[in-house]
């Protein structure tokens, strides 16, 4: 079994079905008699909704019904809630204007649903949608993040379009440290707005059974139980025990499928109202308009240092765009997933951060791969680089000088987090070696000889993952716990079915979790089936995001597997006629110490289910155990990314000649899957740094509404990645894992921009660093 044990690159069990077209996505599911939904969406960013005339659409061929936001309001459906309460520095609660399932009186972004057409075919629904007549009275749109607070109010309950004004850290001490510092580096920056673009667009089928009064909702969710809780407790669609949510195979999420959206909620409501199953699949243009977007910050930052470059204080003021409504976790992203990360890998003694979150007439903004942590890392790793340049210190050395050292752990930062373990210098050293940092000057000279510019940039990132200790999350405003559940169900023949409350939508849990459990029991990964994504099958779960699945969900499985072994030892003690304390379990065998007697894992499983010779008075039959695991701390993956670029100064075209990522993810179960996560994350980070940009015009129309204008990274935009690992094992979870899903997207953007600015010799180039921006910067330097 060695080749399948922890630390081995077992090929992904799920790929057989994915690469042979046998996956079962929501779009692959068709129910008998199902109808099709199509949404009428607002063409305006901000407008009063007047009369909606549905009569013509209702008379069209195949149309079952046309339901509007006004009917949603009449049925007194709850709004879509935001699950994280943020309090402003004055103690007031964040402003949370009603986020209606469909707009009834006012639309607040282009693409907001106002009506749902239900018809017997997709084409009929779409055709009829064009004939729903909506009277709009257009209002001026608020689009700019930076100018939102001085624009006309979108909501009367949110003056200055301000959702909250949050702070973290010691203001006075930070101000004083900056005041008296020998050197202060200042940086104003924008973190560009992104559109997630999962390969599979969002989709749902709502199926209400009028006989049982059960509603089944198939939907592209990263966390079906959470969706059920929200639809039950807040929107009040259906009682929890009558609502089953199935998230089958899901083709990527990157955060955008965490949230409960208007569409699946409207579908569920409509299915109950009409007594028919309704299917909806987003067209790609709908995904651009109405999936939650990511990032979109503007910030001012100041880093104070003494003469030697020791960091004294960091002060940050950020404005974060929430879009038109607070999406499911939107409020937490620029606060507890952002401000808390501003210590990075450094011993900065004083940190103070203020975040104003603002409403605009744009699509809602929420968690997107990294969620807050890329924004924090970009700000910090850029300003540290600028400081190094200003002080004339090598950027690597300035970082090294300020790094938290292994002996400092556990390390309490000035921004709430306590890092449990890490070795940042080890990652830095290994990355510099793998990137041949020392040989850079020679390569730069070669480039110059060819008329090219060459630059190198570092990023030493940290992230807080494994969301999260429930009590801490609750104290900070979370509306839910963030533990995870797992069940290890040993079947009578000794094969194992594993239930997890996390959800795999590309992460490879079916393999990783199988390896985790199989290696514990000494059985083959082929004898372990991982089941996820169905509220009807497993206990409550919190889903997959925040790089939490292995560190929290895997830990639950690890605890459950331990319980199975414990029970197995008791059964074995009975069968082997020994004391339970003398039963060892190793390599799939229960052995009685100091004897040659043993029972296999399979024999014990069989005995548990066919308890003819069994300690029935002391022990229940069966061999299935559950665990609910609540972590005691976040996990803190960290590492160093190094990007090297070569620029054609005539055009600004930039080639990444080498990208090196050295990460510390703690214990690694499957290195191949982890490498894949790093590759994907870095690709997304390079996309943010060089290619991707969501643009709205002044009237709030989306200018980048298709792949013709929204530039997704493609294989030929990317280098071959050089990936390495260093390891410090997480101290507080049984797996020792820290999480790896987001690191690539968090660590890479500042490395890229640091490299490009280094090559050009300018202070700053904003993301995305397009060829034209780079060319203009080159012109500026040369003039």
């Amino acid at each position: 079994m060695v080749e399948q044990s922890i630390g081995k690159s077992v090929l992904r069990k799920e790929d057989q079905r994915f690469i042979t077209g046998k996956g079962r996505y929501t779009g692959d599911i068709d129910l008998r008699g199902q109808t099709y939904g199509y949404f009428v969406r607002s063409p305006y960013a901000h407008a009063v909704v007047g009369e909606i005339d549905t009569s013509e659409a209702e008379s069209m061929s195949g149309v079952v019904a046309v339901l509007t936001g006004k009917q949603v309001a009449e049925d007194e459906l709850g709004g879509l809630p935001c699950g994280w309460m943020i309090h402003s520095k004055d103690g007031g609660e964040m402003k949370q204007p009603l986020h209606p399932v469909m707009a009834a009186t006012k639309v607040n972004y282009v693409g907001e649903p106002v009506a749902l057409v239900v018809a017997e075919s997709f084409d009929e629904a779409k055709n009829a949608a064009e004939h729903v007549s909506v009277d709009y009275e257009e209002l001026p749109a608020v689009v700019s993040t930076a100018a939102a607070q001085s624009a006309p109010d979108i909501y009367t309950e949110a003056p200055g379009n301000t959702c909250y004004q949050w702070e973290l850290g010691e203001k006075e001490a930070t101000d004083a440290a900056i005041e008296g510092a020998a050197h202060v580096t200042r940086y104003t920056l924008t973190n560009n707005r992104l559109i997630p673009n999962a390969l599979e667009p969002r989709a749902a089928i709502a199926d209400f059974n009028t006989g049982t009064e059960e509603l089944t909702l198939y939907t592209t969710s990263q966390n079906p139980h959470l969706a059920r809780l929200i639809l039950t407790a807040f929107v009040q669609i259906a009682p929890e025990h009558k609502l089953r949510i199935i998230a089958p195979d899901v083709g990527g999420g990157f955060g955008s499928k965490i949230f409960v959206y208007s569409e699946e909620t409207a579908l569920a409501w409509a299915s109950m109202k009409l007594g028919v199953a309704i299917k909806w699949t987003a067209e790609r243009s709908e995904s651009f308009l109405a999936d939650a977007h990511g990032r979109d910050h503007v910030s001012d930052a100041e880093l104070a240092m003494d003469e030697e470059g020791n960091f004294l204080a960091l002060r940050v003021k950020t404005t974060a765009n929430m879009g038109a409504y607070l999406s499911t976790f939107a409020s937490a992203v620029p606060t507890y997933l952002y401000g808390t990360l501003l210590a990075g890998q450094y011993k900065t003694p004083n940190i103070y951060v203020e975040v104003d979150s603002v409403f605009t007439n744009t699509a809602p903004v929420d968690a997107y791969r990294g969620a807050g942590r890329p924004e924090a890392t970009f700000l910090l790793e850029r300003i540290v680089d600028l400081a190094a340049k200003e002080l004339g210190i090598d950027p690597a050395e300035l970082r090294r000088k300020n790094m938290i050292q292994p002996a400092d752990f556990p390390y309490q930062t000035p921004v709430a987090l306590e890092y449990d373990i890490g070795d940042y210098e080890a990652s830095l050293n290994k990355a510099m070696e793998m990137a041949d940092y020392a040989g850079f000057a020679g390569r730069k000279a070669d480039s110059e000889a060819n008329g090219k510019l060459r630059g190198i940039g570092l990023s030493c990132y940290i992230e807080a993952c494994g969301l999260a200790p429930s009590a801490l999350a609750g104290a900070l405003g979370a509306g839910v716990g963030l533990w995870e559940s797992g069940e290890v169900r040993v079947n009578p023949t000794g094969s194992v079915t594993v239930m997890t409350g996390t959800h795999s939508h590309g992460q490879g849990h079916e393999t990783t979790f199988a390896q985790l459990v199989a290696s514990r029991f000494g059985i083959s990964v082929d004898d372990v089936e991982v089941v996820h994504g169905d509220t009807g099958k497993m206990d409550f779960g919190l889903g997959t995001y925040g790089s939490r699945s292995l560190s929290v969900g895997g830990s639950a499985l690890s605890v459950a597997a331990d319980k199975v072994v414990e029970k197995g030892r008791k059964i074995a003690a009975h069968l082997l006629e020994g004391d339970v304390d003398n039963i060892d379990f190793e390599d799939g065998e229960f052995r009685l110490k100091e004897s040659n007697r043993s029972k296999t894992f399979q024999e014990i499983a069989f005995a548990a289910y066919v308890p003819h010779d069994y300690p029935i008075e002391e022990l229940e039959p069966g061999l299935a155990e559950k665990a609910f695991y609540d972590p005691v701390n976040f996990t803190y993956p960290a590492g160093t990314h190094i990007c090297e670029v070569e620029i054609d100064p005539e055009t600004g075209v930039t080639e990444i000649t080498k990208f090196t990522a050295v990460d510390d993810f703690g214990t690694i179960i499957n290195p191949m899957i982890v490498d894949g996560q790093v590759h994907g994350g870095v690709a997304q980070g390079i996309g943010q740094a060089m290619l991707e940009q969501c643009v709205y015009d002044e009237s709030g129309q989306l200018q980048t509404g298709s792949f013709m204008d929204y530039c997704m990274p493609r294989a030929d935009d990317l280098p071959k990645f050089t990936v390495g690992m260093t390891t410090t094992v997480c101290t507080h979870n049984p797996v020792g894992a820290k999480g790896c899903g987001e690191a690539g997207a968090i660590g890479s953007p500042p490395a890229v921009i640091n490299a490009i600015t280094d090559a050009v010799g300018v202070r700053d180039i904003s993301m995305p660093a397009t060829p034209e921006k780079i060319w203009r910067a080159v012109q500026e330097v040369r003039s």
Binding site: S285, D709, Y710, P771, E772
Partner: protein, 264 residues
Amino acid sequence: MYDFNYHKPGSIDEAIQLFTGAEDGVYLAGGHTLLPSMKQRLASPTDVIDLAGIGGLSGIEDVDAVLEIGALTAHDEVATSSVVQSEIPALAELASLIGDAQVRNRGTIGGSVSNSDPAADYPAGVLGLGAEIVTNKRSIAADDFFTAMFETALEEGELLTKIKFPKPEAAAYVKFPNPASRYATVGVFIARTGSGVRVAITGAAPSVFRSTDMEAALNGEFSVEALEGITLDAGEMNSDLHATAEYRAHLCTVMAKRAVRKLL
């Protein structure tokens, strides 16, 4: 996509007849512009006349000093044709830079040229080589063909059947792709011909055009230095999210220099 009548005529005459009889007819070649527009409901023809059933509209012929390429010849066929690669390698290279493999295997030269997309690659090759556009009723010189953005000299219902490319002494195409769409932000095609140098530029302006300044300079001395100091008027250039007019004007000269360098 709205409902429409689909026709698959077997001859050019039948196609013309169907077009004439249709309320709002449109020819379908590779469909790579038409079908997405229809799917997005931006185009709603009453009748789609599929040319795929008409024989003789596809293929490449080497006729003395001219390469004749049928209207329905796919980009990939041009890109990989040994005849094109040996006689006008720049045209094969241009075709290889269009879209992606899927596009190149469905999209056709006739469809692309008839569409006159300001960012398409082929118009640069057609104008740069001074090709002749042959239709069901006449022959049109490239210089007279591309009239404006998405507009050509083709009359209503007139069908492009083939394009005759005179073989140049040498030619080169250099493209700066739009990073998102991979259409040409700027594409410069330079041909040395018996009657002088031709420089055709696509992507930069509302329609493909010849740079007479560059041609004059290169006819004086065919060198990279000859283009030094020639800057096209940014006022005539396109501007969008990906490249301002000023940047495009700059790229025209840079790409032209690179094309010349390939020919030295």
